[in-house]
């Protein structure tokens, strides 16, 4: 297929032409003033110059357009044009295959009747050393030096003219370089202008220039023009990599309907990879938006690739697609395949979600626990899975280690639905007091979390704490019918238990905050309320111990034994009576076995914390002979408390030191990271602060991080210059 110069179409015929685009008219022979326009017009070089067309013209393969009535027929009567083969011979002599091929293609396009000489090496040497030097400089890309040499020689010898071929090639090469520069600088109008002024550069010999012109058309809102430029390449150019590259560019920049037309120019299945990409794109979009669907053919295409591949990406893609199109079991398989191929955090996240969707919550928990440090999305998937796990009915029996890590993770992320789920887990196991503590905790993390308020209302009712219940209903009754109903037992009892269950499951769906928990099929039993089967030995005791929460039910009781005092301490602490709780723990510390003493020390630390006595809490904690894990957890909490105290006292440097200490024990939570940012900010360390806020913003788009960034930019905004 011969190479043709392209007359690039310009959508706007009113584009101003800058004469800067052409230069050197004064020194070149007159016919050079004619730009390298369409070969149909350039066939007879003696033809009068024609202006570059400013009208929109689709790039065409002129070799296939013999019907053009305006085209002067190349009749045998005409004398054959004299072809300047200097460049061709020069490049051949230099062994510069690339330029030789380009020049060959150019001459063929200009003169279809022409046959390249067979005696390139033996004949045709110009015998002009100076001209040879110019060609050499040109071949080396030293266009400025060629310009200087041409001018110099023209000055010395007024009769000398640069060969038309050299002048034309120089114009083209410079224009191409200028076009690349303009395109790199995103000066799209200039790119289009250059392409229009020097269509000779837009050939298969420099597909890159064609791509850049196409991009300029896209950037200036003329996608059809871009499509035409891509179509030109597909019609005329043969390099396989460039053909596929052209489709890739089109796919990246053009609307799909325009890409479709280009795909029609496929030769021998060369665009298989492009069709793969399109299928992937559709599946990806549908994976994000369950309302969309990919076609069965597209699914099959990518399934075949995923099965044949050793890489995880397609498996992950199909995993999310099936997960969101009601085939969670398939999704589990795809994600497990992906994990087997080192699919990483994304595969793990998908697997946890898919296991959750197939109600394999324990498996989801086990897998998710291994990926907790991989990122926010993994933590979220884990937390959702454990929230569903805990709210199953009947409550599953869980290992102590499982409960511990659930509690730890929920606590680190202050995940209200997770705390609420722990509440229901305790409640369903008949552990009313710990349940209350968890619901309280959930509410302290998210004041608007209705399911926890409802749980707390049920707890208050079970505890016959009418005052507490009334307070809750006063706050929530207007917003939540089911909370209001707790105070109105007759009405509540009139609802059949099953209806009540459905009521519990569905009503919270109205609130977005509880979505993760409520999306799960399992829910809290309301029946437990009417059937207070005591399961005190049940699993809920475990989370209670792990949390800064009481471990006893009922009233706080008396008794002077260490164990009794310890129990009383937790109870009082739960009632937000930290001073009395501290006294009880002190008693327990003095009169119990080692386990009781250690627990009491921890309790004392919590009590001091509740009083805001951070320092004393630290003393209490350090005095205790705590198991390492417990000590670590407590220290982490204490350091956070200390940090806030220092921050409030404007001791920002000290606060940062505390944060660093804490970070040695546990990963920094997002809220502490935010505070770290503000500490830097208050110290005037804007760059550090900005870095933190940017990271946070990237992770979860939090408005707090954004406001941090805005504040910094406001403060550091400098004047121009």
């Amino acid at each position: 297929m011969p190479v043709k110069p392209i007359l690039v179409a310009v959508a706007v015929s009113g584009v101003a032409f800058y004469t800067l685009g052409r230069y050197g008219h004064d020194i070149a022979s007159p016919q050079l003033a004619q730009p390298m326009i369409q070969p149909a017009q350039a066939q007879v070089p003696q033809q009068p110059p024609q202006p570059p067309a400013g009208v929109a013209t689709t790039p065409v393969d002129t070799a296939q357009a013999p019907a053009d009535p305006n085209r002067p027929a190349a009749t045998p009567q005409q004398p054959p044009p004299k072809i300047d083969e200097t460049a061709l011979r020069y490049f051949a002599g230099q062994g510069d295959t690339r330029r030789y091929e380009a020049e060959l293609a150019r001459l063929r396009a200009l003169y279809p009747e022409w046959r390249p000489p067979t005696d390139l090496s033996s004949q045709g040497q110009t015998g002009d050393a100076e001209l040879e030097r110019m060609w050499r400089l040109f071949a080396e890309g030293k266009y400025g030096e060629v310009r200087a040499a041409i001018v110099q020689r023209g000055s010395a010898d007024p009769n000398w003219r640069a060969p038309a071929d050299l002048a034309a090639q120089l114009d083209t090469a410079e224009a191409r370089q200028r076009l690349v520069n303009a395109s790199d600088a995103r000066q799209w109008e200039q790119v289009i202008r250059l392409g229009t002024e020097t269509p000779a550069m837009l050939t298969c010999a420099s597909v890159d220039a064609l791509w850049r012109v196409a991009e300029a058309f896209v950037q200036t809102g003329k996608p059809e023009r871009a499509r035409d430029a891509y179509a030109y390449v597909l019609t005329n150019c043969t390099n396989p990599a460039e053909r596929v590259g052209t489709l890739q560019k089109a796919l990246a920049t053009l609307p799909e309907n325009l890409v479709e037309a280009l795909l029609g120019q496929e030769r021998q299945n060369e665009f298989a990879s492009i069709r793969d990409e399109i299928a992937r794109r559709h599946i990806g979009k549908a994976a994000d938006d369950p309302a969309q669907k990919a076609t069965p053919a597209e699914i099959q295409r990518i399934e075949a690739l995923a099965n044949a591949a050793a890489t995880p990406d397609d498996a992950i893609l199909l995993g999310f697609y099936t997960l969101h199109h009601e085939e969670p079991a398939k999704a589990v398989t795809w994600f497990q395949t992906a994990l087997g191929r080192d699919g990483g955090a994304k595969a793990a996240e998908g697997a946890v979600l898919a296991l959750g969707a197939t109600r394999n919550y324990q498996e989801a928990e086990t897998l998710g626990a291994r990926w907790l440090e991989a990122g926010a999305a993994n933590r979220k998937a884990y937390l959702d899975a454990v929230t569903a796990l805990l709210t199953q009915e009947p409550p599953p029996r869980l290992d102590r280690t499982v409960i511990e890590r659930i509690v730890r993770t929920v606590g680190q992320d202050k995940y209200a639905p997770g705390a609420g789920a722990l509440g229901w887990y305790a409640y369903n196991a008949g552990q009313i007091t710990p349940a209350g503590t968890w619901f309280d905790t959930a509410l302290s993390w998210d004041r608007g979390y209705e399911p926890a308020a409802y749980g707390l209302a049920l707890v208050r009712e079970r505890q016959r704490d009418q005052a507490g219940l009334r307070t809750l209903v006063a706050e929530w009754g207007g917003r939540s019918q089911r909370i209001a109903d707790v105070l109105n037992p007759r009405r509540a009892r009139s609802v059949p238990p099953t209806g009540g269950q459905r009521d519990m499951r569905q009503r919270p769906l109205a609130g977005p905050a509880d979505e993760p928990a409520e999306r799960r099929p399992a829910a809290i039993i309301r029946a437990g309320r009417d059937n207070p089967a005591a399961r005190e030995a049940g699993p809920a005791a475990e989370p209670a111990r792990q949390a800064a929460a009481p471990r006893v039910g009922g009233d706080c009781g008396g008794g002077s034994s260490g164990a009794a005092a310890l129990q009383r301490g937790w109870c009082l602490l739960n009632l937000k009576r930290p001073v009395a709780a501290a006294a009880a723990f002190e008693v327990a510390r003095r009169g119990g076995n080692a386990q009781v003493v250690a627990d009491a020390a921890a309790g004392l630390a919590y009590a001091k914390m509740q009083q805001g006595l951070t320092t004393e809490a630290m003393v209490a904690a350090s005095a205790a002979n705590l198991p390492p894990a417990r000590r670590k957890e407590l220290s982490t909490l204490l350091l956070a408390e200390q940090f806030y105290a220092q921050y409030d006292a404007k001791d920002f440097n000290g606060a940062l030191v505390t944060l660093s200490e804490r970070r040695r024990l546990a990963p920094e939570t997002t809220d502490l990271m935010l505070m770290r940012g503000w500490s830097y900010y208050n110290l005037g360390r804007y760059q550090d602060a900005e870095r933190i806020f940017e990271t946070l913003y990237k992770v979860n788009k939090s408005p707090e991080a954004l406001s941090g960034l805005t504040t910094i930019r406001d403060v550091t905004k400098r004047n121009i210059q």
């Binding site: 030096e145 200028r178 520069n181 790199d184």
Partner: protein
Amino acid sequence: MRRVFAAMAVVFLGLAPGARAAVPADAWALYRQKFVTSEGRVVDDLNGGISHSESQGYGLLLACLADDRATFARIFAFTRTELLIRDDGLAAWRWDPKASPHVTDINNASDGDLLIADALACAGRRWAMPAHSAAARQIATSLAKVALRQHAGQTWLMPGAAGFSEKDRTDGPVVNPSYWVFEAFPILAKLTGDQRWMQVQASGLKLLDDLAKRRMPAPEWLSVKAEPKPAEGFPAQFGYNAIRIPLYLLRAGLGDKARLAPFRQAWAAGTAVVDVVSGKPVEPLPDAGYRILSASIACAIEGTPIPAELKTFQPTAYYPSTLHLLALSMLGERYPQCL
């Protein structure tokens, strides 16, 4: 008739860059060897070896004044391919050999554009190359579109297409008096038929004359929002940019004694960067390329001979060397007795 007369006056007064070279060939050769690369890049050696529209403009102008067509072609090939890439046809101002892409700031600088247009016009006339004249006209037209602003009844040359107007700054418009390349204005007015270029010349002269009445040498950046005063956020100094002003005035034949007085006064104790408020020198400028500016003023006004060591050119750094050659060419053309 009047136009013919004006044209004759131009010829007789020798205002047109005439047939003979105004920059001595040997001096130009030294400059070219040191600052112009084979690819046609004019290197600002003390500024990290970058190039900019100003250095390319000076290189083109000096090549034209030295009647060096080959070097002009070389420098213009680089300028056009690498800098004249903006959508509006003006030059990107900053080109860094160490960066990729090399253009590290696509903004224009009006003085760079003026110098390039002036040099192209010079080449078009001197070597009868209408393509160069057309290119000059094109740049002038584009520059007029983006950089000429009416404010308070006067036409101002904004320093760039963006960043200095009333909208951009509370003390805007802000101008840089050293961007008034006075010799270019009549040429561009003639090329384009746009008389605003003469109005810009007038506003520049009035600005300098007002400052002269206040005995103040021009600071680099001036707010012309109301009474001209040093712009906020810039040092109120007669500094590296502004020291070109007397040279530009002299080159354009506009160096009245009164207009040049504040510059003479500022440099009474030697060429220096000067605080425009206190009149005190801030930093001495001992390079020959700077000292010849002061010596040129003295010779032009009072006939004080130019010291012999300043009459010969030795390249030092790009900027003072450029000023040195521009001063020598000015003296050769307008004050041959000074040499």
